[in-house]
């Protein structure tokens, strides 16, 4: 199948230079690099797509070398750490980024596939309503969260992060799954409404603060908030089904020690509805 390949130019308008040295980068808003938009255009039209950088408006060809043919499958090469909103509100197709990516990546995504072979910034998949995001590096804060003031965060869809994630992961999350292979920062799943979060590494403080419903599964000991109740230590069968589902449907390697083991179950947060659960793997 044909692919569209964009390669970031070494010289592009977003670079801030002083005496021929790059001292910074102006953010670029790249929500227009969207498979549903690009697939129906020809190569020269793709080059004319608008990208905003700072207060100026540029064209896609100012930033990228364009190769291949128009397609729903887009591959982008280069360090896009100053590119915001890439894949925002995407509805179909796939975007693969070989390099780092900036903030708001795949925010409000509806469907499709985003893969990043590098690190991503904050607000990854914020308020997404479907689709699959795979990050092979680390992610920033507010993964799958709600934007400021909004009541619902991520609502359906899957986010899979191979590295670590920052603070406020799954803040106000409503539905869907987030899988983090590495460690995760503070306030994981704070004010969560529903959904599932798997952390195979360790979590920092205040896990599940203010959560209403939803499930947090972690393979390391967590410092629990006093507003959570300890319920039971048991072998949850549904977790094996869930792990098989992750492996079969998304190709996610679950650590073998997670299967068929004893978990401690806590419920909370009792300052809210108190129907959330936190399952902690018992190393016995």
């Amino acid at each position: 199948m044909s692919k569209l390949e964009l390669t970031l130019k070494r010289e592009n308008p977003a670079l801030i230079k002083k005496a021929n040295k790059i001292i910074g980068k102006v953010p670029v808003e790249a929500q227009n690099i969207k498979p549903s938009l690009l697939k129906d255009l020809n190569i020269s039209e793709i080059g004319e797509i608008e990208l905003l950088s700072g207060k100026e408006s540029y064209l896609l060809k100012d930033f990228f070398e364009i190769e291949g043919s128009p397609s729903e499958e887009i591959i982008i090469n280069g360090d896009l750490s100053n590119f915001k909103y890439l894949g925002a509100a995407m509805e179909t197709g796939s975007i693969t980024v070989n390099g780092n990516l900036g903030m708001h990546a795949a925010s409000e995504m509806k469907a499709g596939y985003l893969e990043v072979n590098g690190n991503v910034g904050d607000w990854l998949g914020a308020e997404m309503t479907g689709g699959f995001i795979k990050i092979n590096g680390h992610a920033g804060n507010y993964v799958g969260a709600a934007f400021r003031g909004d009541t619902l965060g991520m609502n359906r869809g899957v986010i899979y992060i191979k590295g670590n994630a920052g603070n406020f992961v799954a803040n106000k999350m409503r539905r869907g799954e987030i899988i983090i292979e590495g460690d995760c920062g503070e306030l994981l799943a704070a004010q969560m409404i529903a959904g599932s979060v798997y952390v195979f590494g360790s979590c920092k403080n205040r896990v599940g603060a203010g959560m209403k419903r939803g499930t947090i599964i972690t393979l390391n000991e967590v410092e629990m908030l006093p507003t959570f109740n300890y319920n039971i230590s048991y072998f949850p069968d549904f977790l094996n089904i869930a792990y098989n589902h992750l492996k079969k449907d998304y190709g996610i390697e679950v650590p073998p020690q997670a299967y068929k083991r004893r978990y401690k179950r806590y419920t909370g947060d009792n300052t809210e509805l108190g129907k959330g659960e936190i399952l902690i793997w018992e190393n016995v």
């Binding site: 934007f147 400021r148 003031g149 909004d150 009541t151």
Partner: protein, 558 residues
């Protein structure tokens, strides 16, 4: 000089309905047709501009009697709701500054959107006197429209004190002083006594119980304020937000209030929220009581009301009625703000989302619509959404369509909750508003009720605030009213073909200056210095806050 040719004029105040006439504008005013000689002279000098309005509907600029557009409460609403603005950005264009829209737009966008809709005069509905400086600062950044604000006085310490001491002269002087130093237009009364009781940790129901430490009932407060307002000759009546607002069965309180004040001028605002009945034998416990309220309104000659029509979708409730906002927060679980404004009033903000599938919201929507259709005289009922409480002002064109087109209304009702007809009788009402009646409820009526003699009509001497709409043939009514062809403000074109002219223009601030004895400031000084957090010398709004002021004379005579 500007000549608007062949306009189809709808000017209910001057009894014109679809009359084809020319309008002449000079120096921001509408003038009589000049003599032949003068016209010739103007043509020779080439200073006569003519615009042909063949087949276009021409009305005076819209007047909104009740809308929350500036001040501390509105600003807190903006801060509370970043999500409200995220999807509605207005970029800079020419000399027009950027901003954000949605239910609580930024001050510039408020000005743009009112102008784009053909509204040229808007009354900010509730300003705490202490924060008057903030209101005037925002007014200066509110382009195009003329505006004024109503100063909150129903729970003010000095007001309650003077009423409880039976010192009517001092009350009158104090109110006049308050209007003068805050640069206000008229008096607003929000849940009189009720907010004070709430601040004291009590809850007051009805208008006859005494509850506060002043040992006053709401009825005593209302009577004293209505009487003082009439004697001061303030052009607008007291602007009343009734007690028990928003609760099931509150129509009794509303009717009692209306009967109590029948000898005085009174404007009851967002009466939709005050016209609910109660049924005991049913889970919803909520029903419209528009028959009773509309009958009372039809009976009283002096009374005016505005509706506060509910609009489905996002809204941000904000009012000085702190207890109401507390109830709404408890009911909805949404985030909220609640403030005690020292000696003067309370305040609160809660975001709301009115849903069509929610039966209670449907009943509220129907209550507003029924009142529009059951109040016989359009000069008594005005179009508002209590922006942004029941919905944003940008929904006015849609409400006009609902009023003018009963087929559309019935279609819309068919999408309501299946039990809708058990609680309302909107489906049986067939009345349709005509263009003249729309002109009354959206400009002439509110202007008359506010006592603005130069607004809301197109007679000679009126301000040249004019809105030109396309005719309604084969067009969607809501589209026509949402996008006027031209809008003129003070004789200058500000909207052309549904787009703003990219040139900022500031409107006037409307004020009244009733007479009073300046000794009152000295009489209250001691207590003021003791209980307020600011000094009385820093309290008043100084002249440098005012850019363009029009003082409306206080010449009402009972």
């Amino acid at each position: 000089m500007l000549k608007l040719k062949n306009a189809l004029i709808y000017d209910p105040k001057n009894n014109k309905a679809g009359v084809k006439e020319d309008i002449w504008i000079e120096n921001e005013k509408i003038v009589a047709e000049p003599s032949e000689r003068k016209i010739k002279e103007l043509k020779e000098k080439d200073i006569l501009e003519e615009i042909d309005l063949e087949n276009k509907i021409v009305m005076a600029g819209g007047v909104d009697i009740h809308s929350h557009i500036a001040g501390p409460k509105v600003n807190s609403g903006r801060v509370l709701r970043p999500e409200d603005h995220r999807r509605d950005n207005v970029p800079r264009k020419g000399k027009l500054r950027s901003g954000v829209g949605s239910t609580v737009p930024s001050s510039y966008v408020t000005g743009y959107r009112y102008s784009l809709m053909g509204y040229t005069t808007v009354m900010e509905a509730a300003g705490p006197p202490m924060k008057a400086k903030h209101i005037h600062e925002e007014f200066n950044d509110l382009p195009f429209i003329d505006k004024g604000f109503l100063v909150l006085s129903g729970n003010n310490y000095f007001v309650l004190k003077f009423i409880s001491e039976n010192n009517f002269t001092a009350l009158k002087n104090y109110l006049a002083w308050l209007i003068d130093v805050t640069g206000a237009f008229a008096l607003k009364v929000v849940n009189p006594g009720g907010v004070e009781a709430w601040k004291e940790g009590k809850r007051m129901r009805g208008i006859h119980n005494k509850g506060t430490s002043f040992n006053l009932s709401p009825s005593e407060i209302l009577l004293a304020l209505a009487k003082a307002n009439d004697e001061l000759g303030i052009p607008h009546a007291i602007h009343v937000h009734t007690n028990d607002l928003g609760t099931a069965g509150n129509f009794k309180t509303t009717n009692e209030t209306l009967q109590l004040l029948k000898d005085y001028r009174v404007h009851v605002t967002h009466i939709q929220f005050s016209s609910y009945g109660k049924t005991e034998n049913d889970k919803v416990k909520f029903i419209t009581a528009t028959d009773q309220v509309a009958a009372e309104i039809n009976r009283q000659p002096k009374l005016t009301v505005d509706i506060g029509q509910l609009v489905f979708g996002e809204a941000t409730t904000m009012t000085a009625d702190g207890i109401l906002e507390y109830n709404l927060h408890k009911l909805s679980g949404n985030k909220w703000v609640n403030t005690d404004v020292e000696m003067e009033t309370g305040s609160g903000i809660v975001p709301m989302n009115y849903k069509k599938k929610n039966l209670v919201n449907d009943i509220q929507w129907a209550t507003g619509m029924e009142l529009f259709l059951k109040i016989e005289d359009p000069w008594k009922v005005f179009l508002t959404t209590d922006h942004p409480n029941a919905g944003p002002f940008t929904a006015y064109p849609w409400i006009i369509k609902l009023l003018m087109d009963s087929n559309y209304r019935n279609d819309y009702i068919s999408g309501m909750h299946k039990n809708f007809d058990d609680y309302t009788d909107l489906s049986n009402l067939t009345r349709e508003y005509d263009l003249s009646e729309i002109a009354v409820i959206s400009r002439s009526g509110p202007a008359k009720a506010l006592g603005l003699e130069n607004k809301g009509h197109l007679g000679v001497g009126a301000d040249a605030d004019i809105t030109v709409y396309d005719n309604l043939e084969k067009r969607d009514i809501a589209e026509v009213f949402a996008k006027p062809k031209y809008v003129f403000k003070s004789g200058r074109m500000i909207v052309k073909d549904g787009e703003l002219i990219t040139e900022l223009q500031s409107g006037k601030t409307l004020m009244t200056k009733p007479d009073y004895d300046p000794q009152i400031a000295e009489d209250i000084r001691e207590e003021f210095q003791k209980y307020y957090s600011i000094s009385i010398d820093n309290y008043g709004v100084t002249d440098n806050y005012y850019k363009k002021v029009e003082v409306v004379p206080c010449n009402f005579k009972g």
